[in-house]
């Protein structure tokens, strides 16, 4: 079964149809998506700043990683759920949207680098280049957000 077939099936389900036909569902889920993204990026940013050495320099990176974990994972979970709902609100349309494809492609390295950054922050000796990776990862998340915004424009 191809991805396109799955998207076509999602569009045919009662859930997908209800989302498309509702006036408030997409605006509401879009707002939840943005709100959750704020939490997730807030967590990512604070840990990045610690690894670059611009914030919380008197605390260990392990301690900061543990402190921001609830915000990051809570935000990431809500971002994923609301993102799937938004995808289902126009599955085939999104499938053919180039901005959506860019977003998905950028999402993979951004997420993997975030996990790596968290792991190195919690190790006894964080990698020396973790600050550079943190900057790259944060820029990747910014591109994900920009691509997300672009979905509505293309």
């Amino acid at each position: 079964m191809t991805v396109l077939a799955v998207m076509e099936w999602v569009d045919r389900t009662g859930f997908g149809t209800a989302l498309r036909e509702s006036t408030w569902a997409v605006p509401a889920w879009g707002t939840i998506h943005l709100f959750a993204l704020c939490g997730m990026l807030g967590g990512v940013l604070v840990l990045s700043l610690r690894l670059v050495g611009w914030a919380f320099t008197t605390q260990s990176s392990e301690r900061i990683s543990r402190s921001v974990a609830p915000l990051f994972w809570g935000g990431a979970g809500a971002v994923a759920v609301s993102g799937l709902v938004l995808l289902a609100s126009g599955a085939v349309k999104n499938y053919y949207n180039p901005a959506f494809r860019w977003k998905m492609a950028l999402l993979v390295p951004a997420f993997l680098l975030s996990i790596w950054m968290d792991r190195t922050a919690r190790s006894d000796k964080p990698a020396r280049w973790s600050g550079a990776v943190a900057v790259a990862m944060f820029l990747l998340w910014c591109l994900v957000a920009a691509a997300g915004r672009a979905i509505g424009f293309v």
Partner: protein, 162 residues
């Protein structure tokens, strides 16, 4: 000159027209605005959740403030600057948009809230810095800030639907 005339004048300026009519400028400033909002709300939430005793319970409130608030200010400048560009580009539309005026009203309150907090309860932060018992007014300021910024986000998103 009435306010509406001023908004219309900004709307018709060459700069606003260029942003509005460009294929890339409006989406670009929109993306910058969203990124600014994410880091702004994300870092404000870190401090507010510390005031509520939910996040960073092991760090002093003043430590979290010192490390996080500079990022809040930078984000505020990014979101504010891009916001002004976006507003200028569709000033005439914004003037008649109820969601826009709600957003401005809520922004005003969101600005007053930390002012009150800073000049009252935060002055005595040394007394409750590492204490598990955060005073009720510090908790109230944190809760009010979270609620206000969430409402601002909703009003901002709603602008697109009016």
């Amino acid at each position: 000159m009435s306010l509406q005339v001023a908004f219309q004048w900004v709307n018709d300026s060459p700069f606003s027209t260029a942003v509005r009519e460009s294929e890339y400028l409006f989406p670009l400033f929109n993306a910058v605005h969203v990124i600014g909002i994410c880091t702004l709300l994300g870092t404000i939430a870190v401090f507010d959740l510390r005031l509520l005793g939910i996040l960073f319970p092991d760090e002093r409130a003043s430590t979290v403030a010192r490390n996080v608030l500079p990022v809040v200010w930078i984000s505020f400048v990014v979101a504010g600057f891009s916001g002004f560009v976006l507003l200028a580009s569709e000033a005439a539309r914004a003037y008649t948009n109820p969601a826009f005026w709600w957003k401005m009203f809520l922004l005003l309150i969101a600005g007053v809230n930390p002012l009150i907090f800073h000049f009252t309860v935060f002055r005595r932060v040394k007394e409750w810095d590492s204490a598990a018992a955060i005073p009720w007014n510090a908790r109230a300021a944190g809760a009010a800030s979270l609620l206000l910024w969430t409402s601002i986000l909703i009003a901002g998103r709603a602008m697109a639907y009016f």
